[in-house]
């Protein structure tokens, strides 16, 4: 992916650039808001990573301008202001996702992939999701693994749906909490793990190919190994 990073903190910009490059993306950097906006408007990008506090032009202002001009390039906003209020503000202003600094690179990469994928998926009407021999019918709300029907509780269904929509990508616990449970909070213990284990039990037990994997230190991934 061609990614534009607009960030004035050199350490973070370096960190980001290196991480994104290692993940296989093409990275272009800018340290100033006005320059960043110019680049965003004049070239084609697959994704933007914008810091809020920038010299020249504020990150949120750049986003406002882009959206007002009809440019809906996927944008992830980075900020030291990590309050839920600021996050909501950022999302309302047109950001696709909002991440507080400092962040784990893994989290950023996962979210970047997720938001680009979301955009791609949104243009097509999907009624079925498929990963290897796991099939989910979104209209009938049924799940099958091969010939076997998998019985899922409503919450488990939503959990699997999210994982399938982001198949092949790392999905962090925070992302799951926000997307499947719709809460932004800090779990003191890993409650999500238990739900994942149950889901894994339902879809992977007895199967030659386990699909629901735990990525140590990051989150989960649904896909063929």
């Amino acid at each position: 992916m061609r990614v534009l990073v607009v960030e004035d903190d050199a350490v973070i910009a370096d960190f980001l650039a290196r991480g994104l490059a290692e993940a296989g993306h093409q990275v272009h950097r800018s340290e100033r808001g006005d320059e960043g906006q110019f680049l965003a408007e004049t070239e084609r990008w697959d994704a933007l990573i914008l810091d809020r506090m920038l010299p020249g032009r504020d990150g949120m202002a750049i986003l406002d301008a882009l959206r007002a001009a009809g440019n809906d390039v996927p944008a992830l906003v980075l900020s030291s202001l990590g309050d839920v209020e600021h996050r909501v503000q950022g999302l309302r202003a047109g950001a696709d996702d909002y991440l507080a600094k400092p962040f784990a690179l893994v989290e950023l990469l996962a979210r970047l992939d997720a938001l680009v994928r979301r955009r791609e998926g949104a243009t097509r009407e999907i009624t079925k999701l498929r990963v290897a021999d796991l099939e989910m019918d979104l209209l009938r709300r049924t799940v099958r693994r091969g010939a076997r029907v998998v019985e899922l509780q409503p919450r488990e269904f939503r959990l699997l749906e999210y994982l399938m929509r982001h198949a092949g990508q790392v999905v962090t616990r925070t992302m799951l909490l926000e997307a499947v449970w719709d809460y932004h909070f800090d779990p003191q213990t890993n409650v999500i793990d238990v739900h994942i284990s149950r889901l894994r039990g339902k879809i992977d037990r007895g199967e030659p190919q386990p699909l629901l994997q735990t990525v140590r230190g990051s989150g989960y991934l649904l896909g063929e190994r």
Binding site: P102, D186, Q188, V191
Partner: protein, 447 residues
């Protein structure tokens, strides 16, 4: 000391009243004899003038003239209080009312006083003996004077009573107005103590002692708010500044693990990364706590608390079952003014604790009900509970009870619960569920 006189204000009012009364009594007590003396003096002057007149009549017209004058005065007195007697040389009564004389009388020259038997009253008289032995007595009945003094005394007592009543009313009124004037500062202080740091005492603008009190208290509150803000900002700064190197550390460890093919090294890096994650989670919670405690209170939207609680229960249901516990939820549909994410965090932390500290087979009860004061959330377990002596402490940061050392957690769970409760104007109480612990969070009624 009787109950009503125990306060400083009451004592002040009493003292004030007593001083007033004492002053009045003193005034009166000194006025009365003075008045008495004045009237007595006046009487004597009158009597002297009479005697002088009568002496002259005797000198000019002789004894017969005197008798005529006396008889006239006795029959038609100008002054009804005047008293006259004429006695012969043998001291037998010639003229005058005998009933006004006491039974035995020894006449001496000059001023004499006695109490007449009929009608009862004091008499003051001048005795004039003449050369031929006859005695003239001219005097004044003191009845009027006595009546005057009695009336005066009555006035004095009535005045005293009236004054006492006024003093009491004044005292009460004074106390009430002081109470009212102090209500402003006291109410403000209460609200600030409950967590609303922005409250200030209303100033009436009259620049009196109460306004000065209010202004001084406001200055103090400004300082407190400044300090609290300062603490919050420095906690924020510390956590923020420490998160960055921690995150870098974690990233390096990840790189190490990913680039080192050795299994043992990999396992070690995993453990180190897990440690770093725990530290980062603690910082995250600390920052969240600082933000919730120190932040301004924005207008909060309406949240269906039963939905939030149900979601939390659902999330923890799996964990509970894995630990051999049952979660029972009885949730009434209730709404509160609040922040949905924070309320979820509150219920989640309470559930987390209950599930963590209750041994299997056990039960966790979650109840949500509407009560008179508002909305009540109860999370109860049948685990070991918290001893009464520790129930205040557990809400402080990083407190882990001895019995729980070694279990997972940062020690910030209940601190967050308290901060969120305060932010929502709710109260928390810890009860012995016999067995186990019951946590009750009471949210105020929405208006």
């Amino acid at each position: 000391m009787p109950r009503f006189a125990r306060s400083t204000l009451d004592r002040f009012a009493l003292g004030y009243g007593a001083a007033f009364l004492a002053a009045f009594a003193l005034l009166f007590a000194s006025a009365q004899p003075a008045l008495d003396a004045l009237v007595a003096h006046d009487t004597r002057r009158t009597v002297e003038a009479e005697v002088e007149g009568l002496r002259e009549i005797r000198a000019n017209e002789g004894d017969a003239g005197l008798r005529r004058a006396l008889a006239q005065r006795i029959a038609h007195p100008i002054d009804p209080a005047a008293v006259y007697f004429l006695l012969d040389p043998a001291h037998r009564l010639v003229l005058g009312a005998a009933q006004r004389l006491p039974p035995a009388m020894r006449w001496r020259d000059g001023w004499m006083a006695w109490r007449a038997p009929d009608p009862e009253g004091a008499v003051v008289a001048y005795v004039q003996r003449f050369a031929d032995g006859s005695v003239l007595v001219a005097g004044h009945d003191e009845r009027e004077q006595e009546r005057l003094m009695r009336a005066l005394a009555l006035v004095g007592w009535c005045g005293l009573a009236l004054l006492a009543g006024t003093a009491v009313l004044l005292g009460l009124g004074l106390r009430r107005s002081i109470d009212a004037a102090l209500r402003g500062p006291l109410d403000t202080a209460d609200r600030v103590a409950a967590g609303r740091l922005h409250e200030r005492v209303p100033i009436a603008g009259s620049d009196d002692a109460f306004d000065r009190l209010g202004t001084t208290i406001n200055r103090m509150l400004d300082r407190i708010e400044q300090l609290v803000d300062g603490i919050r900002r420095s906690t924020d700064a510390i956590a923020h500044d420490l998160r960055t190197p921690l995150t870098r550390l974690r990233t390096r460890l990840e790189n190490l693990r990913d680039t080192t093919p050795c299994d043992t090294a990999s396992a070690q890096s995993d453990a180190a990364i897990a440690d770093a994650d725990r530290l980062l989670a603690t910082f995250q919670s600390l920052l969240r706590l600082a933000r919730i405690e120190g932040g301004p209170t924005p207008a909060l939207p309406v949240v269906a608390l039963d939905g939030v609680a149900a979601d939390a229960v659902e999330l923890w249901q799996a964990v509970a079952e894995g630990a051999g516990l049952r979660i029972e939820a009885v949730l009434e549909p209730v709404t509160v003014a609040g922040d949905r994410d924070q309320l979820f965090q509150l219920v989640a932390n309470l559930l987390d604790n209950a599930v963590k500290y209750t041994p299997a087979p056990g039960r966790v009860r979650v109840a949500l009900r509407s009560v008179a004061a508002g909305v009540e959330l109860e999370v109860a377990d049948d685990g070991p509970g918290i001893p009464a002596t520790d129930r205040e402490r557990v809400f402080d940061r990083f407190v882990r009870l001895e019995a729980h050392r070694g279990t997972e957690g940062s020690g910030l769970g209940l601190s967050l619960v308290r901060a969120i409760a305060v932010r929502h104007g709710a109260t928390i109480a810890l009860r012995d569920a016999q067995p186990g612990l019951a946590v009750l969070v009471r949210f105020p009624r929405m208006n």
